[in-house]
Symmetry: C2
Subunit: 106 residues, 2 copies
């Protein structure tokens, strides 16, 4: 079986940004796209800034394959969202990788 | 239902580190611990260094709750692994967060 493909984004938002609004925009974006298999996000509650490097939020999207991720990434709504997103972030890290599952829920 | 809790680590390893050996050590660590619900990792294949900030690998572990994550984190084998891990990395980002699932596989 081919590996799932993950699109991972860590973000530090600019001050005064209403993160909930950004997330709602993302929700809207992915809800209509069957190609996005799962979408999970969260705000760090645990690590010291030394460990988080100032990043506060993580976004993880899962696709069936790299090809489906690329289809998503090039989709006009995603490109448009990317431009909005770029304007509200202080910094971000993006990693895109075939996910190797060592242990999965039984 | 309570949110799952995720432990996310992005890493840039030192040169000459055999990443597979480190991952095998991690596999061994989590395989014996029922408290670790899932463990997925991957190596970036897509993003430009401008977007990855030099990070190459992502590790995602999922727990049933923050409490179970903390039990894992304080477990002697994990603490021991952490010391080894610190010696092989150039830099890392750690985020620990209750995972909000907007969209899940049907």
């Amino acid at each position: 079986m081919a590996n799932e493909f993950k699109h991972l984004v860590l973000v530090k938002f600019k001050e005064d940004v209403v993160v909930e609004d950004i997330i709602k925009g993302l929700e809207k974006l992915v809800q209509g796209m069957d190609i996005v298999k799962s979408f999970v996000w969260g705000k760090d509650v645990e690590s010291s800034e030394m460990l988080t490097q100032g990043y506060t939020h993580a976004i993880i999207m899962t696709f069936n394959s790299k090809e489906e991720y690329k289809t998503f990434a090039n989709q006009p709504h995603h490109v448009e969202f990317g431009a909005t997103f770029a304007s509200v972030i202080d910094k971000a890290v993006l990693l895109d990788f075939p996910a190797i599952s060592v242990k999965a829920p039984t």
